[in-house]
């Protein structure tokens, strides 16, 4: 039966992560990276994967992973979201790993599980789970040619998984014929890049329907589990704002004693309670291979992305002028949250998927009207 709670192992994992992130990923350090050349934090990634083995959680033990599952992965994402940690966990340990699981690529899975290598699925971050963007062409070799824009978590990747022609291909991200150009991104803690392939040597790891299924499962996992990251983002925004309005005094009293602010924060808390239930459902479905997974993922992104945005916007607003400064971390969360409403397709796209999955058909087109 569906379990929407956290298990004892999951809570223990959360405690370890929170302690590590508090020491090694304080927001001041993340903020300072934005003015440097390397937004991703390789030292933090090495600690997360080396000490806690987070990259191996969804990989079966026989392939070098921890064999834990996607419920635990979701807990990791909650904590990474709470810290807006600049590491490629979503792109590599969730999306690319899910694609490789679907393709049975055990050697590559083993490499990703260690965390010493990372991979990215080379599709725009805005790609919805039911889209199949094959913008890249395959020449004999096979060698790839074409451009993919706005890819998340590809900048630090060693390996690119590229939907091209009729298949899914593995490409050495540092090899010939691959040029990655960083994009100045709305969310600078998860920066995108544009990728140009020009005769990049490739190895086909799945073809036809199998490739299409692998890409679909990877994007579905991303959409389903991004919801947990959004829960973490919203939780940080709520906690931080509550702390602020309890301490900040105006008119001779804490501003948190004014009903106008209390009701707004109560609404954020209610939305967050719901987002947590929805995100847990998506993670549980994904972990169990439940037939409801596609619906759960669409529900997750139709609901949770907006909750994170609402929490982040409330955080900025209730911090007043302070919340509008670069020196306060609220904007890191706002940017992560807003970018999340577009990642894996906007809410409208997910509602359209739900119309199909929950049998709520659109009105029929009336002949002769329109065009």
């Amino acid at each position: 039966m569906t379990n929407l709670l956290y298990g004892a192992d999951e809570e223990a994992l959360r405690d370890s992560l929170r302690a590590l992130l508090a020491t090694h990923a304080p927001w001041r350090r993340t903020l300072a990276r934005l003015d440097g050349d390397e937004p991703y934090d390789p030292v933090l990634w090495a600690r997360l994967t080396g000490q806690l083995g987070v990259a191996g959680l969804p990989v079966p033990e026989e392939h070098g992973g921890a064999g834990a599952g996607f419920r635990e992965v979701a807990v990791v994402l909650e904590e990474l979201g709470r810290a807006v940690a600049p590491v490629p966990f979503l792109g590599s340990a969730v999306v690319a790993t899910r694609a490789l699981l679907a393709c049975g690529e055990v050697d590559l899975l083993g490499q990703l599980a260690t965390g010493r290598h990372t991979a990215a699925l080379a599709v725009p971050f805005a790609t919805a789970p039911d889209a199949r963007p094959y913008a890249v062409e395959v020449a004999p070799g096979p060698a790839l040619a074409g451009t993919v824009t706005g890819v998340a978590d590809a900048l630090p990747a060693d390996l690119l998984l590229v939907p091209a022609g009729d298949g899914l291909h593995a490409v050495d991200a540092r090899g010939p014929g691959v040029r990655m150009t960083p994009v100045v991104s709305l969310d600078p803690t998860r920066p995108l890049c544009d990728i140009v392939f020009s005769g990049a040597p490739a190895r086909r790891i799945a073809a036809g329907a199998a490739a299409s299924r692998a890409v679909g499962e990877a994007l579905t996992a991303g959409a389903a589990l991004l919801a947990s990251e959004q829960v973490g983002v919203a939780q940080w925004c709520l906690d931080t704002t509550v702390g602020h309005v309890r301490n900040r005094h105006q008119f001779g009293r804490p501003i948190g004693s004014f009903q106008a602010l209390k009701h707004r924060l109560a609404d954020v808390w209610v939305e967050l309670s719901q987002a947590r239930a929805v995100a847990r459902y998506a993670a549980d479905c994904l972990a169990a291979g439940d037939p409801d997974t596609a619906l759960a993922a669409a529900l997750a992104q139709a609901h949770c992305a907006a909750v994170a945005v609402s929490a982040a916007e409330t955080c900025v607003q209730l911090h007043g002028g302070l919340g509008f400064t670069w020196e306060h971390p609220a904007h890191l969360y706002l940017k992560r949250a807003k970018a999340g409403t577009i990642a894996f397709g906007a809410a409208d796209r997910h509602r359209a998927a739900l119309a199909r999955l929950a049998d709520l058909p659109a009105p029929a087109r009336v002949p002769g009207v329109g065009s």
């Binding site: 379990n3 309670s273 529900l299 709520l360 009105p363």
Partner: protein
Amino acid sequence: MSDDTADRLRGLVTELLGRHDPAGGRTGFLRARFDAGLAWVHYPVGLGGLGAPERLQSVVEEALARAGAPDNRPRRNSIGLGMAAPTLLRHGTEAQRRRWLRPLWTGEEIWCQLFSEPDAGSDLAGLSTRAVRDGDDWVVDGQKVWTSMAHRARWALLLARTDPDAPKHRGITYFVCDMTAPGVQVRPLRQLTGEAEFNEVFLDGVRLPDALRLGAAGDGWRVARTTLMNERVAIGGRPLPREGGMIGLLTRTWRARPELRTAGLHEEVLRLWVRAEAARLTALRLRQQLAAGEPGPEGSAVKLSFADLAQQISALELELLGGEGLRHDDWTMRRPQEPDLLGRTATYRYLRARGNSIEGGTSEIMRNIIAERVLGLPAEPRADR
């Protein structure tokens, strides 16, 4: 360990069914079930329970349902089961629990709640019904309002002021009121739907023996908080399958009546479907927390969002129906046991849903409670403490 307990419970059900024919009289069977500790298994031995984990109640319910045993018709006595029982269990004396819990659970005695007054709604602690000590009795005078079940109830949970000089939260005492006592008068209170689910109750020199006091004199507010917390859970905590609530009426109409569909309504139907499913999963998660013995504060969230959703869904249903949405079924004064949300016209649902954000704590008060008790925000400065 819990498997052993579940097996033991199934064994006790089999024994009960062997001793008492489930096809015989309802009351006789229910009394025997109570005495076997199978009424509410998490209650103490001797009070209808076995001190077992609450989540194992479903084992008993399933085994008895399979045998076709009669249930205690919980909706007939929702205030008794949902609010009075936990309050009696927590604050009653041993004699009080033994006197009241058995006929309460079997449905032989219906309960109601005499809390709200015309001048004490959200500010319930401002109530002015008086109880004055007179020998071994208390004499009660006042008026209560919004009392469902009062016209059927044998007993009532009553809050009355016993010390007008004490600060307002400390001058209140909690009683169980005998609804058959002289001086208790019940009148129907007709609501905007035309029917009367509720009553006004007039208390005129009602004599209550001191044995009907629940908790210490002056400690009534603390006792009332047990009742009110359970009210919120009782109102918002029912488990539903997907599309099991009011959203199901909207989606059934949507599927069955393609001629009503427009692009704009489609968008709104999908948005509400998402919100309803999120609220359903939240309620399910709350139940799992309660069953695991880690009660969360999500009950207030569930109550708030249930009210909001019921209002939005019923409003959209009316608009979807267009001209049909202008036809109401009946304005005559009925005395329903509970609102018939699924059986009547969409107009009724729209109107009745207005009450959802008022009854059991207005949505504004719920937000205050969440802000202060869950988030720890400071209270507004008050003039009455």
